[in-house]
């Protein structure tokens, strides 16, 4: 066997093997540990290796945890829908009018990522809070402050949209970048109005990119901790925040692990639910190859 043949044969397993090992070590093993821990219990900061399903029973019957999960599902859905609704016209405008600065415009959306997430959320807390820019200006003008943006779920939602909108914009922009705009011209030539051309050509052929953007916003929102903690107020506890509490001050790690497993399964189910309703071949997905 020549050295070149060996290299070409080794390249595949090597290229796939390294990330596989990486995922096994840093994702599968911790996840398996989490599953095991979820079947143990804690007692005053001590892990008791006593196999039981008590944590799952607590989650199912405790009421509070179901409430947190429902709140998070609703929050993640609302935030993802709003993000997609905002990101679409923004991405479309960049494609249509961005000219040679299109990439620059898209990258500009990533500028906030140059700072930490904590900083961004705290900055937003300052903006939306009682002394923040919005309410400060309103009060200086003699108007009443907007209480619904001060430590409420609305404030959390604003924070989450702010955090994840750049991702959604980037994904939809990339989808539109690969879209053949001549198809719109073809639709118009055959008599379609711009609106009809959009809904029957542009939207469906970029649906896959849109769904990826939706999922990349929806899943982290489900486990969001910082935004509800700093912006959400007394009624703003979401599932991720409650889960973080188990690993923090309360030290109820086993219950937290069970919450993590439930969150993981919920995320997978959500992605499957979205994926099963979509015909990938008709949504601009190009991952099937030429065959």
């Amino acid at each position: 066997m020549t050295r070149r043949n060996f290299a070409s044969r080794a390249a595949g397993p090597l290229l796939l093997g390294v990330p596989t090992l990486f995922l096994l070590a840093l994702f599968v093993v911790p996840l398996a540990s989490m599953v095991v821990l979820s079947f143990w219990r804690t007692e005053n900061y001590h892990i008791v290796q006593d196999w039981n399903v008590g944590n799952y029973v607590t989650l199912a019957t405790g009421g509070a945890y179901v409430t947190f999960l429902i709140r998070s599902l609703v929050m993640a859905t609302v935030v993802s829908v709003v993000s997609v609704a905002v990101a679409w016209p923004v991405s479309y405008a960049i494609i249509l009018y961005g000219g040679r600065y299109r990439l620059l415009f898209t990258l500009a959306f990533a500028v906030p990522f140059l700072t930490g997430e904590v900083l961004r959320v705290i900055a937003l807390q300052g903006l939306l809070g009682p002394l923040g820019l919005i309410n400060g200006v309103l009060m200086a003008l003699g108007a009443a402050p907007l209480r619904f943006i001060m430590y409420t779920n609305v404030a959390s939602a604003i924070g989450l949209v702010y955090l994840y909108l750049p991702i959604v914009v980037t994904v939809i922009y990339l989808s539109l970048l690969n879209f053949d705009a001549r198809l719109i011209d073809a639709a118009k030539i055959f008599g379609a109005s711009p609106l009809r051309a959009f809904f029957e050509v542009t939207w469906p052929l970029n649906l896959f990119g849109t769904l990826i953007g939706f999922a990349l916003c929806f899943i982290p929102c489900l486990s969001a901790t910082l935004a509800p903690r700093f912006l959400g107020g007394p009624n703003g506890t979401l599932y991720g925040m409650a889960m973080a509490q188990q690993f923090g001050e309360s030290g109820t790690w086993a219950l937290g692990a069970a919450m993590g497993v439930v969150l993981f399964l919920t995320s997978i189910l959500a992605v499957l639910a979205i994926g099963m309703r979509v015909n990938l071949r008709r949504t601009g997905f190009t991952g099937f190859g030429r065959g």
Partner: protein, 406 residues
């Protein structure tokens, strides 16, 4: 050759050291081997450092607010050690870290209230020698071992910690918005008259414990014999009391603007008038008074140190991890504690963190500072319930979660 030294540049070979090929040049295989060995050395270096090198670092698990860079730098210079702090927020977080092998990762630890005795019982910390920490001579009487028993082992009478700063979880309030007689009771934090203008911290233990004092007072169980035969401790509540706490916390929720996450947020909320009263460690109160003294704000704030039903108190302490054996490292640990509890450092810490000190720094303080930092009120500590570990974190967690979901 240094027997224990590791050359920091060991993963790099100079031109004169590099192995050469048959023709005097470096062949590719040799170069690759050298690079691989160098890389392996670099990766392994942190793990193969000799034990003697470990004495050159001092690792502390501590509250961030007590870190004074200039004091640390001077200590590092004097003792030729590197100080490596890791910060935590609450006792339970530090306890978790210590329990999962932290005694090997940390030399110095901070904790408050009853936590040091729990650490000692669980062999997470070791005893200290007050004779090697001369600054302990300057402790206020109430914090000396004969009066403050929480850092002394009952069985042997030896000390396992040094008191550092102290305070309460009292109520800071806006005097123009809340009368002093209202603020003298925990009831003010549950009074619908102040709905939307109250705030509490996000710490579940202290919220439940403080509410527990009020519930036990209302139920009349605070001064009656307790199931455990001991005196009332708000961290050891009966199921009936916990039910009462849950109901009260749910009622309180609609009265709160928010649960503050940090002192800066609370200071802003109080300053703006958005919040009129909140329980806190008096640090924000002192910041606000300082601002008022400088003419930066007009509002007057006051602080209820111990509400009439009883209040929560804390004494932050310095402890030495059980991972530290007798010897040079232990000596450095005690020297560090001595430096941190010296009068001069304590004065700086009081000014920087806004905490009262356990060391008597009255000789270095103005009458205003003595008043502000409660230097003549250390005796009130005896009437406070010390921060403690909840009797059942699982039960307390359920109470807190149900309240959050309600």
């Amino acid at each position: 050759m240094k027997p224990h030294g590791f050359n920091p540049a060991g993963n790099r070979l100079s031109a004169t050291q590099a192995p050469r090929g048959p023709g005097g040049g470096v062949n590719r295989r040799q170069m690759l081997k050298t690079l691989a060995a160098g890389t392996a050395m670099a990766v392994a270096a942190p793990y193969i450092r000799p034990a003697s090198a470990a004495a050159s670092s001092l690792r502390a698990l501590m509250w961030e607010g007590y870190l004074l860079p200039e004091v640390i730098a001077a200590f590092e210079e004097k003792h030729k050690v590197t100080f490596a702090p890791t910060f935590f927020d609450g006792n339970s977080e530090a306890y978790n870290k210590l329990r999962v092998g932290g005694t090997k990762d940390f030399d110095l630890v901070q904790a408050d209230g009853f936590w040091p005795s729990l650490y000692f019982r669980e062999k997470l910390i070791r005893t200290v020698d007050y004779a090697k920490i001369p600054s302990t001579q300057e402790l206020f009487p109430v914090f000396k071992p004969d009066q403050y028993k929480l850092l002394t082992d009952d069985a042997t009478g030896v000390q396992f910690g040094v008191p550092f700063c102290w305070g309460s979880y009292g109520i800071t309030y806006n005097t123009a918005q809340m009368p002093a007689e209202k603020a003298a009771s925990i009831e003010c934090l549950f009074d619908p008259a102040f709905g939307g203008k109250l705030s509490t911290s996000a710490r579940f233990e202290e919220n439940i414990a403080l509410t527990g004092i009020l519930v036990a007072t209302r139920m009349g169980t605070k001064d009656k014999p307790r199931p455990d035969g001991k005196s009332f401790n708000p961290y050891v509540l009966t199921d009936e009391e916990l039910d009462g706490v849950e109901k009260l916390l749910i009622e309180q929720k609609k009265l709160l603007l928010t649960r503050y996450q940090d002192n800066a947020t609370l200071a802003q909320l109080l300053e703006s008038g958005a919040v009129v009263a909140a329980p806190e460690f008096a640090q924000v109160y002192r910041q606000l008074l300082n601002k008022q003294a400088k003419g930066e704000i007009d509002t007057t704030f006051a602080h209820t140190l111990v509400p009439k039903e009883g209040g929560l108190g804390w004494v932050d302490t310095w402890l030495v991890s059980s991972g530290v054996a007798d010897g040079a490292k232990f000596d450095v640990c005690q020297s560090f504690i001595d430096t941190m509890t010296s009068k001069e450092t304590m004065k700086k810490i009081a000014m920087a963190s806004g905490c009262s000190t356990t060391i008597d720094i009255r000789s270095l303080s103005t009458p205003e500072e003595q008043k502000l930092y409660l230097m003549d009120r250390t005796g009130e500590l005896a009437s406070m319930y010390m921060f403690d570990q909840p009797s059942s974190t699982e039960k307390w967690e359920r109470v807190w979660s149900r309240m959050q979901a309600a």
